[in-house]
Amino acid sequence: MRLARDLGRRKLRSTLTITGIAIGIMALVVFGSMANKMNALIGGGSKYYADKDIVSIGNMYSGNFQPLSLSDVAKIEAVDGVAAASPSIEMMLDDKEATSMGMPEMIGGFVPGGDKGLESFRLDVSTGRKLTADDHGNVAVLGCDLARSKNASVGGKITLRGVDFTVVGILAPTLTAPDKEAMMPLDAAQQLFMKTLPPIIQANLKASDIATSIVVYPKEGVSPETLKTRLEAALGSSYTVMDGKDFDAMLGSISIIFSLVLTGVAMLSLLVGGLSTINTMAMAVAERTREIGIKRAIGASRWRIRREVVAESAAIGFIAGAIGLLIGAAMTVFFNDLGRASGNVLFELTLGTSVTALVFATGLGAVAGFVPAWHASRLDPVTALRYE
């Protein structure tokens, strides 16, 4: 292959240029995989929240949060268009783990069957069993990542917020929030949650009466948005009602900023790689001035000279892209394996990201070849032949 021989003429320079782009592509692959994972996480949430409303008082992140009373369930069920209202407790597994990449580990308490079969987000167990309406007290079903990080297995014990639980099931991977969640009957979660509240508040509450949120399923033909309006009217302004759109608005912007920052970093390194390719090809053209003169003299058209330079430049990009993709893929696999132990699977390399990286690298190489190619094609054959 002639092209490969031309690339091999200046091994050091070709290698350096290829390395430059490969690093950029590697960054693109790694950060791209990270954004994929993030988007899968958010996508999962978006899907979960799409067909329901969540009622709470205040919210957990803004500080004015208050627990709901189970009597609120009856109030909600009385609203026209409500098919089911299921109280739940959502809390951090560990208060200290507030800042981590991706989702934090969570405890979720719920009433099995409280959704009356309306929940469309399917959760399956890979081992053991799901929770049933007959389960009460300290039994738990663990998300796959949580089970791995806590080294828990079905039939074994796990300590959650200082209390021992029997593991009855482990969930199949969902790539989203439930992977890091411990699910338990509502009454067990109520006990755990009660202990996190200040004593003065505890004094006025009964553990068996509290919930952090109530999941509301609309009747068929009633949209979550319509129901949200009715719920707000019925419950009053101290309650917060969120539908799928609110969730998307809250997390969608985070996702966009995240993607932009990652893409920006990757693009910056690719810009450097691209400039280095222009330099390499400009040098190659200068060195081969005489050769281009020969080719022009014996009948190579300007178009053909341009094509040769651009093809060589694109080949540099393609090779660099393939190398960068391989290293990037290896890194995501390596760090995922490393992170799995602690339940932090941060990367998801998709076919789309791989193809994009490769096409982008090749395109970058080709574009970087344009200016040197144009210059080469404008050389006067006679002058070029005399060039030493």
Binding site: R2, R5, D6, R9, R290, E291, G293, I294, K295, R296, A297, I298, G299, A300, S301, R302, R304, D380, P381, V382, L385
Partner: protein, 255 residues
């Protein structure tokens, strides 16, 4: 029959502000089909410039004075576009240079094939043509060697094979023996002479070497950008009696 005929060929090279060289000051030249012609003259006489114009590497100046004309196979090619001139060079002309000018990364056969590709022949056909051309110059066994693995004489023979592979109407050679010792020079010259005799190949060569000149059918002598002696072919400047009307020189065709 004239294969190449030029009238009012002028060329001025500007080498910067207020510094230009009038390399060709109005030349009339005719090359007949089947001729082997040498263009001779001292450095700066304009012989290379004339060669570049005849080989369509440069266009003659047309911005002042009488309109230049250059006929190749009956077609006026004096003012063709770069692309059109390139196409003619690729398909109908062959070039041999003083410095061999082979592409260093390509083997002898690939160098010859390059000329085929530019002329529109590719793949197996190009390869077969290249091997055949290398056979004509006696280098089939060197087909897979790169230029650095070949001697100067061998490189120049590869260049001749490259010039001949498309069976061009004319071969233009710029100091083809300039870098060779006398023995290799004689070999290369004999080779060109042989193609001229056996295949009626029209050859124009620029040379300093009077021995090369003597081996040709005709010598055109140049000085100061003009033709001083066209070796007995028609070239009376300006008067333009049609060259075809003049008796063609007796070229010994039989081998």
């Amino acid at each position: 029959m004239a294969i190449l005929k030029g009238l009012n060929l002028r060329k001025t090279y500007s080498k910067g502000h207020r510094n230009s060289v009038e390399a060709l000051k109005g030349v009339e030249i005719t090359i007949d089909k089947g001729e082997m012609v040498a263009i001779m003259g001292p450095s700066g006489s304009g012989k290379s410039t004339l060669m570049h114009i005849l080989g369509l590497l440069h266009a003659p100046d047309a911005n002042h004075g009488p309109v230049p004309e250059l006929y190749f196979g009956g077609q006026n090619v004096a003012s063709l576009s770069d692309d059109a001139r390139t196409k003619i060079r690729a398909r109908r002309m062959g070039f041999v240079f003083q410095d061999y000018n082979l592409v260093p990364t390509l083997t002898a056969a690939e160098n010859v094939m390059l000329a085929c590709e530019y002329a529109g022949t590719t793949g197996g056909k190009a390869k077969a043509a290249a091997i055949e051309a290398l056979g004509l110059v006696g280098l089939v066994d060197r087909a897979g060697h790169k230029p650095v693995e070949l001697s100067g004489g061998e490189q120049q023979r590869v260049a001749i094979a490259r010039a001949l592979v498309n069976k061009p109407e004319i071969v233009l050679a710029d100091e083809p023996t300039g870098n060779l010792d006398s023995e290799r020079s004689a070999e290369v010259l004999a080779l060109l002479r042989q193609f001229n005799r056996e295949h009626g190949q029209t050859i124009v060569l620029v040379t300093h070497d009077s021995e090369v000149g003597e081996a040709c059918d005709r010598v055109i002598k140049m000085r100061d950008g003009r033709i001083r002696d066209d070796g007995g072919r028609a070239g009376l400047p300006a008067m333009a009696a049609p060259a075809v009307a003049m008796p063609a020189p007796a070229v010994a065709m039989p081998a």
